[in-house]
């Protein structure tokens, strides 16, 4: 499912003295099956932008097209659109409410009006995908650990079988291990299900490791877009808007200045480690 955004503007509290331009003339295209990273500062408009993708927020002007269909054109299609575009909010575990893990995950499919068998099938495959074992299905979601809760909540969105999955800071507040687990599962989902994934994140490390394309948003405008290699080579532009490249890229740069012959354009931990090892072997 391709996403096309045309001249999107969003103004909060329009017409009052508190009016605030949150999004300014956003134009972009996201291809089917792409893995896109959205980075930007707090308050840059990331969350506002992703909430437009399934029509939770309506544009002040402009259009969002899903496979060529304007998502705000027909109100009766709203539910179908929200099924196609799954949005996982920040701290999604705060939305858990039902008595058991199984029931909570089945909330979405139930709302979509599916049959019992279909619901069961979807809930089980969603929970399996996020690595929640069957013995936890009948537990209360509130008895689980933080990382498990988060994965149950993500399964709640996955069970809708979205064609586009949007994750707003899915790893925020987790320990390093929980973080890696969740992000690796997201990567795996992207690969096995072939869905379009949009990942909102603060962590340059995670973005560098996972995505194919990056969008950089600043003060409600898309200021840079391109592949990780393209984006992370623009260190100055990133720093100008208060962002940075990855820690690994900084280490590589500092070592280069100290006389290490490391290649340019390496920015993931693995790539930098390999380059340093190669360089050390040569010495």
């Amino acid at each position: 499912m391709s996403i096309e955004i045309k001249d999107l503007c969003h103004v909060y509290s329009k017409g009052t003295t508190f009016a605030k331009n949150a999004l300014n003339n956003i134009n972009l295209t996201i291809k089917k099956g792409d893995f896109v990273g959205l980075i930007g500062h707090t308050g840059s408009g990331k969350s506002t932008l992703v909430q437009h993708l399934n029509s939770l927020l309506k544009p002040s002007s402009g259009q969002i097209l899903l496979d060529g269909e304007d998502i705000n054109a027909d109100k009766s299609r709203l539910k179908a659109i929200r099924t196609k575009v799954g949005l996982v909010f920040q701290y999604p575990e705060h939305q858990l409410f039902d008595m058991t893990v199984y029931k909570d995950v089945s909330f979405g499919p139930k709302n979509a009006g599916l049959s019992e068998e279909e619901i069961k099938e979807r809930v089980e495959s969603a929970l399996e995908m996020v690595g929640i074992a069957p013995e936890l299905y009948e537990k209360s979601p509130f008895e689980l650990s933080g990382g498990q809760k988060r994965r149950v909540a993500i399964a709640g969105v996955l069970a809708m079988r979205p064609e586009v999955l949007v994750l707003d800071e899915p790893a925020a507040g987790l320990d390093p291990r929980g973080r890696d687990e969740i992000l690796n599962q997201v990567k795996q989902m992207h690969e096995t299900l072939g869905i379009t994934v949009i990942l909102v994140s603060h962590s340059m490390e995670d973005i560098a490791r996972l995505v194919n394309n990056i969008l950089v948003i600043n003060k409600g405008e898309i200021v840079l877009q391109g592949t990780p290699t393209e984006i992370f080579s623009k260190v100055d532009e990133l720093e100008d808007i208060g962002l940075s490249t990855t820690q690994s890229a900084y280490i590589a740069r500092d070592l280069r200045q100290k006389g290490f012959a490391l290649p340019e354009n390496i920015f993931t931990v693995d790539a930098v480690v390999d380059a340093i090892l190669d360089e050390l072997k040569k010495r």
Partner: protein, 272 residues
């Protein structure tokens, strides 16, 4: 999605805004109580002049006051109608079958409507010119004498302050949870009353859980900063009476005196 302004404080720099909240609370209460002693239209005229002056001085746009009135206009009309039909009187103005409208009834209705209107406007001025926090401080100090009979005045005020502080937070939280559930296909708008009530479960359960979580965090944070009620507690913003508070008090006392004088005058000359 949800826009709620909490309290209705209208920020401005004015004599009324600067008054000590305790004095404002006292004056408002005196004004409201003595409004019920007025029994003639001269008195209402005087109360109206006082209110109008206070509004002018407070720099609060009158439309804000009317907005507060709009919410209870129904109650005012209802009371007036009850008074018109159910006041027994001698001078009948209108009679049709069982309906009887007397002059006394009409007068009573007008008095009641005026009283309620001024009562609401009077208390609106208090809330419009005093921040919720100042107001709870004033209430705490008003309740202080009751501490002798073991009314937990400080705790009550603290609970009110915390509740006020967390209303915007909870609204934000609710907005977020609502969106998250809508993203999973939840529907809060359609269906009958039972379906609508059921659709609130996915909203209220997370909201309550988050409120409890916040309460626990806050309690821990307060305890770790050695909060133990009002024993030995000082304030960052001390409330001090100033000369203007005395002026306000004198004005309200003269108003009360004026009411009794006018009541007497009205009785002597037979004014309504």
């Amino acid at each position: 999605m949800l826009k709620v302004t909490i309290g209705q404080y209208y920020p401005a720099q004015s004599f009324i805004h600067r008054l000590d909240p305790r004095m404002k609370l006292l004056c408002t209460m005196l004004f409201i109580v003595f409004l019920f002693f007025v029994n003639n239209f001269l008195g209402y005229a005087m109360a109206f002049v006082l209110l109008a002056t206070v509004i002018k001085v407070s720099k609060v746009p009158p439309k804000f006051l009317l907005r507060g009135l709009r919410a209870i206009i129904f109650i005012i009309i209802f009371t007036a109608i009850l008074n018109i039909f159910f006041t027994a009187g001698e001078t009948i103005v209108f009679e049709w079958r069982w309906m009887r409208i007397s002059q006394e009834g009409l007068l009573n209705a007008a008095r009641m409507a005026l009283r309620l209107t001024m009562l609401i406007i009077g208390s609106s001025i208090l809330t419009l010119t005093t921040t919720p926090i100042q107001l709870t401080d004033a209430i705490e100090s008003a309740l202080k004498p009751l501490k002798k009979i073991r009314v937990p005045a400080h705790e009550i005020a603290m609970m009110m302050t915390i509740a006020l502080r967390f209303i915007p937070t909870l609204i934000e939280e609710m907005d977020k949870i609502m969106k998250a559930q809508m993203a999973r296909g939840a529907d809060f708008d359609t269906g009958g009353i039972i379906k609508k009530a059921r659709s609130l479960v996915p909203l209220l359960v997370p909201l309550f859980i988050s409120a409890f979580r916040r309460a626990e965090d806050l309690a821990l944070a307060m305890e770790s900063r050695c909060y133990r009620g009002d024993i030995g507690r000082t304030r960052m913003k001390q409330m001090r009476y100033a000369l203007r508070d005395l002026a306000a008090f004198i004005i309200i006392l003269s108003f009360i005196a004026g009411i009794f004088v006018l009541n007497h005058v009205a009785a002597v000359y037979g004014i309504w």
